[in-house]
Amino acid sequence: MNTLPRTLLALLTLATPAALAHELARDGNVGALMHTDPDDAPLVGKPTGVFFELNQKGGRPILLSQCACTLSVYAGGVRAGRPALSQGKLRQGQGQLLSSVLFPAAGAYTLVLQGRPKPGLASGAAFPAFKLSWVVRADVAGSGGMNMNH
């Protein structure tokens, strides 16, 4: 083997970062990959970090400064007339939206991220209103995780 690929391989091994995000949901021209801490298996009674990599089709990121976004957490599924358990406060991270959510008891929760362009947003950066949802299972010992049947 040439020295060049061998050297590059060694450098790559040292530079491998942690993975970013995992399960994808999409609505029209907007999609997001969600990841929860720790290791996609949220714990009950502890603040859980939630990360959304929100993009338009093609991979152009949607920033919080462009989006009137809200995050709602529902116990179980979303049903008409039933209020959200809590609203997660969103903030802008590097290439992703971040929030912290508290799951009070073991079981399934639905996270709903919805948004629309902020008024006055340049037409080039505009995106359609969207509503994305994921079902997450919180557990005491962290044995839950995401339910992909959303």
Binding site: P5, L12, T16, A18, R26, G31, N147, M148
Partner: protein, 201 residues
């Protein structure tokens, strides 16, 4: 006198290639939350593919591994293909167009993996003696792509990121697995393990 690598039966190599991931899957099922098991399985086969490719490179220095080279190359392709299929099912939810909703860096990292896997296909299809004879010099040129495809696979892994989780049980399991593998390889390599014991007469 040349130290010829010991030949290992093809069926034995297939058995090992199947048993290694099955054991790792069992370990994964023990330490991984149910909800993320599918995604971790996908990552596991990606790692197995890359590990197989790296072991193919190691055959340059570890002569005793040389007889496994073809099996390792084939295993790398099949593990990689299964990894790709699992990623399509569980990360992209069965719809390849979902790739367009990932950020551009992640899209590029996935394309690197796709190109590496596509590059391994002709190597896999020509990895038998008949093809080697028929292609002659072209076969050697084609198979010189191997290290570059390994590099591309490593780039895909590094770029997409690894997700193992800093859970003590996982690290302990991995450390024990690596230790076991290390001891197994060291024993196979050690001349003392091959020569008869002086205590035995």
């Amino acid at each position: 006198m040349t130290d010829r690598p010991r030949s290992v039966s093809g069926w034995w190599q297939v058995l090992v290639a199947l048993l290694v991931p099955l054991n790792l899957e069992l370990l994964l099922a023990l330490v991984t939350p149910v909800g993320v098991l599918a995604e971790r399985r996908e990552e596991l086969y990606g790692f197995l593919s890359l590990a197989s490719l790296l072991l193919v490179l190691c055959t340059r220095w570890a002569g005793w591994l040389r007889s496994y080279r073809r099996a390792l190359g084939l295993a790398a392709f099949w593990y990689g293909l299964y990894h790709g299929w699992l990623a399509l099912q569980h990360v992209l939810q069965g719809d390849p167009t979902n790739l367009l909703f990932l950020n551009q860096g992640t899209q590029a990292s996935i394309w690197a993996g796709i190109v590496a896997l596509a590059g391994l296909l002709p190597l896999t299809l020509t990895s038998f003696s008949g093809a080697q004879r028929r292609l002659g010099r072209a076969w050697k040129r084609l198979h010189r792509l191997g290290p570059w495809l390994t590099l591309l696979s490593a780039l895909h892994t590094a770029w997409a990121g690894v997700h193992f989780g800093f859970v003590p049980l996982k690290f302990t399991s991995l450390a024990l697995l690596l230790l076991s593998l290390g001891l197994f390889l060291w024993r196979r390599r050690s001349p003392a393990s091959r020569s008869p014991s002086p205590l035995r007469s």
